[in-house]
Symmetry: C2
Subunit: 306 residues, 2 copies
């Protein structure tokens, strides 16, 4: 059973506290501790050797663990306010901690987020977990579940760059645009805020564009048609990997921390860095087309039909 | 540099958001997201092989990670409301997850706490991090910093039992009162609530009674005289280990998740399960006396002076 199945099966229960507006299952939880005040709370872990390569500079690890949480806040349309940190060290020295803290605060400062508490422990691998509390106007949070047939599917930035950058890092390649997109994700807080009242549904892309779009569609009870030719590929990824592999990275690579959202086709005029890539359908399937032909995309990657 | 030094040096910064009432450095953070509404937020991690032995039943791991967080909520005098979970699995199977969830919800249900979100990942060791949000009447949270010379020092329960139980577990011993005190800590939520407006300072005992009392005294700018003869040792720990080792476990063992607090001597009349063990002094030192003689207690354990 995969992560999502485990969560659904063992950790999803009806909340009893009336202040729980949205519980397990969206990008973040929505709580209403007082009438008219809603919070978004998110938690995300990065594990050495799983979510980042051993040897990634400590400052990048600190930056990433904040950024991936802020991306969840962005996907709900909320404003991040404060965070707590649980850090497990495995032989990392004080210099590592200093670097980690510098990256952590760099990401937090960029969005006005205070670190208010934490817990430091020792373990066998380094693990950093951050919890962020954000605020959202009551009833206005962006959910996964609001997409409707005929909505346009949009994505921010240029998906695929981070996964391409990670593959370069794993080959020992250094500091360039693509690796930086992995090391320093950009949480789309401002775009998320601009989408409140505009987008019908939103999710942040952490596990790959098609996989996360599928979660949005499942939550909304719809399907989607994606036009692969309209994917906003960066010049860098096409130059480094060619168009076919770039498309594969964009559709299934993960680690993008871009927003994938649905809205009416003309609703996002004036929003920079947003590209229409498809349309919501009333089937349940995610169909990707390239030059009119259906391409097969699954968890194992991306393949053309012969 | 130890955990506390690292936190002080690299993770303590002045908060900019006006809603941060107490940040890094107490048992939990106090936030004021709206006028008159205060929250307590805590985060704690348990790591396989560090905070619990490999082979500890999954239900106990789930129970413990919730209980240790609720203990921090208790030490602030707050009411726990909801929690989020970040779980890293390392080869644990679905049966383990089922057991973990059952223990987690058992601890949460005992205190009316909802699980509202989370993140499940894969790693090389099992790590569970829980974040709890509680509520406290504005300005009423119990802090570490309010102890005054002449206050009486109290402790709940019978400290030492959990550490004694852990040593039995590590020797392969099974299910009895002492091991259960390790496997299933009791967060003292009701006592914490009763201490609001009564205790001058409070901390939860996770790292050992003397060590945590030292943190309380440092935060308050005072010292303490502890009467070792008045420690509330359980019959079980004395029977299993003798009085001397029982005292050592009680003073330095850790994992108690009892509350250590200060108040006037008569302020706690009617509170069950609370024992006076000493007095706050205006020196900076923690002095432990047994039958009038000073005993030396340090991080390395507990020793009689010759």
């Amino acid at each position: 059973m995969d992560e999502f199945g485990l969560i659904r099966r063992y950790f999803t229960r009806r909340a009893r506290y009336a202040g729980v507006i949205v519980g397990v299952g969206d990008d973040g939880a929505i709580l209403e501790p007082a009438a008219g005040l809603q919070q978004v709370q998110v938690i995300d872990t990065v594990v050495e050797g799983v979510h980042f390569p051993r040897g990634l500079p400590a400052a990048d690890v600190g930056y990433r663990v904040v950024a991936v949480n802020l991306s969840d806040i962005a996907s709900m349309g909320a404003v991040p306010r404060w965070m707590t940190l649980a850090l497990t060290l495995a032989g990392q020295d004080e210099q590592w901690v200093e670097g980690f803290a510098s990256g952590l605060f760099e990401a937090a400062d960029a969005h006005g987020v205070d670190l208010v508490g934490g817990d430091t422990t020792r373990g066998e691998v380094a693990v950093a977990t951050v919890h962020v509390t954000g605020e959202i106007e009551a009833g206005r949070a962006l959910l996964r579940s609001g997409a409707r047939t005929g909505d346009t599917v949009f994505v921010t930035g240029s998906p695929g760059d981070a996964a391409a950058g990670l593959s370069l890092l794993e080959d020992g390649r250094g500091d360039d645009y693509l690796t930086r997109r992995f090391r320093r994700p950009t949480p789309r807080i401002a775009t998320g805020r601009a989408l409140v009242g505009v987008a019908s549904a939103c999710i942040d892309v952490s596990d790959g564009l098609v996989g996360d779009l599928r979660k949005l569609c499942e939550a909304s009870g719809v399907g989607a048609d994606v036009d692969v030719g309209s994917l906003p590929l960066s010049d860098d990824i096409v130059a480094a990997f060619g168009r076919d592999r770039a498309i594969e990275f964009a559709l299934t690579g993960g680690d993008d921390y871009e927003l994938c959202f649905t809205a009416s086709a003309d609703a996002v005029a004036g929003l920079d860095g947003v590209t229409a890539i498809g349309v919501i359908t009333d089937g349940g399937a995610i169909v990707c087309r390239r030059d009119g032909a259906i391409v097969d995309v699954d968890d194992g990657g991306y393949r053309h039909f012969a």
